[in-house]
Each structure stands twice: as C-alpha cells, then as structure tokens.
Subunit: 343 residues, 2 copies
C-alpha cells in the first residue's frame, strides 16, 4: 500500500472509482470548483432542489457525448449548458434552473474535469441559469469515453407565447440567425486533426438572450428551433412535417462562412446537414418578419440573421430549395448518421 | 453494399450509430414501444415539454450505470424510473414528469433495449409519472458499456411540507421502512455469478405512494431520504451533519433479511453501507412517530418499517450505534467505493 501522501497525489491527478461512491470525494471536488456559482439550493445537497414556480413550465434534457472534449470555440462543458439552455429557450421560455449529471471514466485527469467545470460555470453565468441539482457516476476504465454529461433544465414560458414546430402557416417567413455549419466543422476538424488556413471555431452559445429580444419584438413566433444534430435541413423538415405545410428556401440566402464552405467541399459534406450550436431558425407571420429580423440583427448572436424562405400551402411536409442556378430540389431529412458524437 | 432487406434486418437486431443521428430511427423505435405511455407533450416532439404548474417545484436528476443491466428484481430501466421518482418523493413532492435520456453503445441488441423500455413503461405506470421529454445518443462500440440512462424529474411539493436533511432536532425519532441491503447484494450476486440457496431480489420500487401515505399521517416530516449509494450509514451521517445533531441507532432494531446477512458475512461487507433502491429513512418528531409508523406498516413497501433510533443533542455530526452486545461504535461515512456501478 503506498503511503498516504502519494495516494492523495493520485487522487488529485486522476478521477478514481472512489469519486463515485456516495459522492463525497466528487462532491468536495465539484463543490470547491463551482463554489461561486453555488446557491442555497445546491448547497443544501438534498436529493431534489425545491423552488417556487407559477405558470407554464418548459422541461427538457440532453446528454452530451462530444468527442473530442475540447474543440475550437468550446468544450463539452460549455456545450452541455448552452445546448439545454437553447432547447428551453426555443419554446420561448426563460431558462431558470439546470441539473448537471456526470458519467466519468475512471482515470480522467482531474485537470480536464476542472477545465470543463470552469466552462460550465462561465456558460451558466452568461445564460443566467443556476445549477441546482446534480449527480456523479464513475465507471471503470474502458466503460465510457472520458466523460459524458447530461443536463436537464426548466424555464418559464411567458404568457401569450405558444411556440411549436406544428404552428407554421402558409405565408409565414423563415428567418435564420446566422452562418450555418460552424460547430460541426469545428469539432470534426479537431477530431481529425485537419488544419485550415482560417481556423473555424464552434458557434456554441446560449441563445436565450437573443430569443428574449425576439419575443420583445413580437409574441407571434410560431416555430423556433436550434438546428443542432441533422442541421438546418432536419429542422426545416421537422417544421414542414409537424405543421403539414411546405417550406421554400433560397440557396443564395443561407449564410455560410467561406472557410466552412471550403471545408465542406473538401470533405464532401453538405452544410445543410451539419450541426450548429449557436443558431436558431424561426417561423413568424410575414407582418412581423421585419421587426423580428431587426431585433435579431441588433443582438451579438444574430448579427448575420436573414430571411431564408417562406411557408407555403404547396407540397406539404416537404422542404424545397431554389438553387443558385434557378433549379428546385427537395431537401430531405438525413437518413443515417453523418457525423457521430458532434454534441 | 448489402441489399436493403439485410440492412433492415441488421437495424432490427442491433443499435447502429445511425440510430443516434437526428434521432429519427431511434425516435421511431422508442415511440413505437412507448406508444401507450405516449402523451400529447411527448408526441409533439418539440425540444422542450411545456406544462402548467403552480407551487413549490422539486427538481432532481440521476444517471444510471448499473452493471449488469438485468438483475433479480429489476433492471436499469426500472431503476432509472424508481431512483428519480424516489429522489423527488423524498422532498415530500408528488412526482409528475420525467425526462429520459439514453447513451447507447453501438451494437446493443434491440431486444435488450425493448426489454428496458418495457420496464420503464411499467415502472412509470406504477409511479403515476409521465415521460415528457427525451434524448438518445449512440456512441461507437467500446466508448460506453451497453447503455447508460439519465432521468431527471419534477414534482410538486404540497403546501406546509418542508423536508430537508438539515431539519432533524434532538428528541426526534428515526424510522426505517424495511430490510436493508437487498439491492446491492442482488446486483453483486448477479454480476459475480454467486448462487445463494435463497435468491435475493432487489428491493427496487417507487416510494412516492408510501411517502404520500406518511404525509397524510403528518406533515411534520423533518428529513426523508432513500439510502441508495453508501447505504443507511451514509444517509444517517448526512442527516447528522446537515442538521448538526447526533443520531443514536440500535443495531438490534435494523431489519436485515437472513440471506442478505449471510451474503454480507461471506463477502466481508457491512450491510449498513450497501445500497437500497426501495427503502426510505425518515426523521419525525417523537409525538408523530407512532402515526407515521402505522401508516408505513399498512403500505406494501413499508410492511417491515420500524423505529431504529433517535436524534440527540450529544455528539453533533456523528452517528453512534449501540451494538447487540451493548457497546457503542461510531458509524462513519464510507471513504471509498465499496461496490461500483450498483445503480
């Protein structure tokens, strides 16, 4: 048996199975690092956080398995806060509280966990959400891939807001908040060790501030979603299917960074199917489109916003793109997995 | 490229990375199986579920990594519903809605996933909770261990209920709802291939019904918790530390099944530290103890309930056990991990 000092050293460097026991070792580690985002609810360390609410509650969950853990513009910690904050915000809700659950592979360097916790803290602060309850499990080496994170979240939907993928109507306008494809290409480049002349950072960002500004412009937002896995094409297809309407988009209107377009051409990928983590697509009545677009352009996460298309009664359930050459093509759902473990 | 039919066959048998893409394949699979627990919120498939609430909300999360997936008396599906339902119920809340997030290793037999989904459905029905939002990620073979599940949950705390590990006061009684150690020994036996003359099933069960009956007897429940990881000793130590009181328990009063005791002796384990998944420990004022105990004994999950000790102003932060021989010993928190991946 090694002397206590070297055991303590080992515990400082690597996550051990013991960190997952009743949670004491891990609790101390996480608590020490999150201390300044600590709050009376988390500090109580009861099995559930308890808080007062009144109204329409939005509730969502996502697990994050991105590989690699760290990539230009973000990491799994930032992603796990922004992704869930965005899912809440896409219902028009103000995100309030998150849960945070880790599944950690034995042997994860504590330095990496601390870096991830730092990103979680920073992202939660920017989004204005509190982490109120959590869980940590440690599994044997080889039984997970470094770390998986699940966050669930709750938020309050303001009165008069009713957003759903099923609400689009013919005549509505479709607005995209900015360039597509950044997140997927950033993660893929990092994973495959690709070097581009201009590095492509992920767009990973909390969108609740942007969504709140848009709701100030009008409460008549019909559909809103962040095009993550499956990209813009999947989101538009979801809207078309759920609302039983057609959607027409114009290829020339969809903003894509030159570096992303070049990377997609090189890799044989279609940017319409690449994941984003800091963009949203919104369907609004035509009469409100200008006001919503103006509100978006004023926000740092909506500077490149533009109208990309409109909702039609024709071809219900289908998304049709007018190409730069004037032809029309149907934009389908992706069938298989284009880029696994992108979030 | 294989013909479509054999590709379809492969997809029926094993989970593929494609099941995790935008979620369509997996969505169809899960939706088809959960169809009769489906509900308007889940069916909408929006990013967040939205529902009306008013009052004190309890919010909790847990990830489940139990190994093996199937064990006597339960499986990871039943566990992932009961565990989170119980965490909500331990705050005195009525559990209402769960989220359900899977991380699946590529290659998991679809039959195993279906069996797990069946258990989830059954446990959710017994507990009276709805699954309203979910997520599925599939990771490459070797990057997870078959399946990990996260559930988060929300519930409403009735007016006048204020339960916390920090609320125990000297003079209060400590009541345990039944035999300890069953879950941990059941999982361990299955994992290690141990055969006992009497098989030991896990006690995994939703405790919200029992907790509701107890709250009908009195709203003066001070502390309530299900002694899972770390066992009864950890729960009692949490109460003593958070409430800054001492707790005295009598060894002879703690119910343990003979088969569990025999297994513990054989394996060199202390049942006080073994996980339970269908038991609760409660601290109540002495004047309410008889009424709470009577309510517990009437419920199927509290038949073996008994008073196991009391709260004292002496030795704050410590749990002291009077042994069968009349000696006193301090019951500490476990330091390391006794039994990894028990839940």
């Amino acid at each position: 048996m090694p002397p206590i000092t070297s055991m303590e050293k080992a515990m400082e460097d690597k996550i051990l199975l013991a960190h997952g026991s009743g949670g004491k070792l891990m609790h101390d580690l996480i608590q020490s690092f999150l201390s300044d985002i600590g709050n009376p609810m988390l500090d109580k360390m009861d099995d559930a956080a308890v808080f007062d609410v009144k109204g329409k509650l939005a509730f969502t969950t996502d697990s994050y398995t991105v590989q690699p853990l760290f990539f230009p513009g973000g990491d799994i910690g930032k992603l796990s806060v922004c992704g869930t904050v965005n899912d809440i915000a896409m219902s028009g809700a103000k995100p309030l509280y998150l849960s945070l659950a880790f599944i950690i592979e034995e042997g994860l360097p504590v330095a990496e966990l601390k870096k991830i916790l730092g990103s979680i803290k920073k992202a939660a602060a920017e989004a204005g959400v509190k982490i109120v309850t959590g869980d940590t499990k440690v599994v044997n080496k080889g039984c997970a891939d470094k770390i998986f994170i699940n966050t669930a979240g709750v938020g309050i939907v303001p009165d008069g807001v009713n957003i759903s993928a099923a609400n689009a109507r013919p005549g509505d306008k479709v607005i995209l908040s900015g360039n597509i494809g950044d997140h997927g290409i950033a993660v893929l480049s990092q994973r495959e060790g690709l070097k581009f002349t201009s590095p492509i950072p992920s767009d990973c960002a909390p969108l609740n501030g942007l969504a709140a500004e848009m709701l100030k412009a009008t409460k008549n937002i019909r559909c809103m979603r962040d095009p993550t896995r499956g990209g813009l094409s999947t989101t538009l297809n979801d809207f078309a299917e759920s609302s039983k309407v057609g959607i027409n988009v114009a290829e020339g209107q969809i903003p894509i960074a030159k570096a992303v377009l070049a990377a997609c051409e090189l890799l044989g990928l279609d940017p319409l199917y690449i994941a984003n983590e800091g963009k949203l697509v919104v369907v609004v009545p035509a009469k409100d489109a200008a006001a919503v677009l103006a509100a978006m352009k004023k926000h740092k996460y909506g500077k490149n916003a533009c109208i990309i298309g409109e909702v039609t009664a024709e071809h219900p359930g289908r998304v049709v793109m007018k190409t730069a050459l004037g032809a029309s093509r149907i934009i389908d759902m992706p069938v298989g997995e284009l880029l696994p473990r992108i979030c």
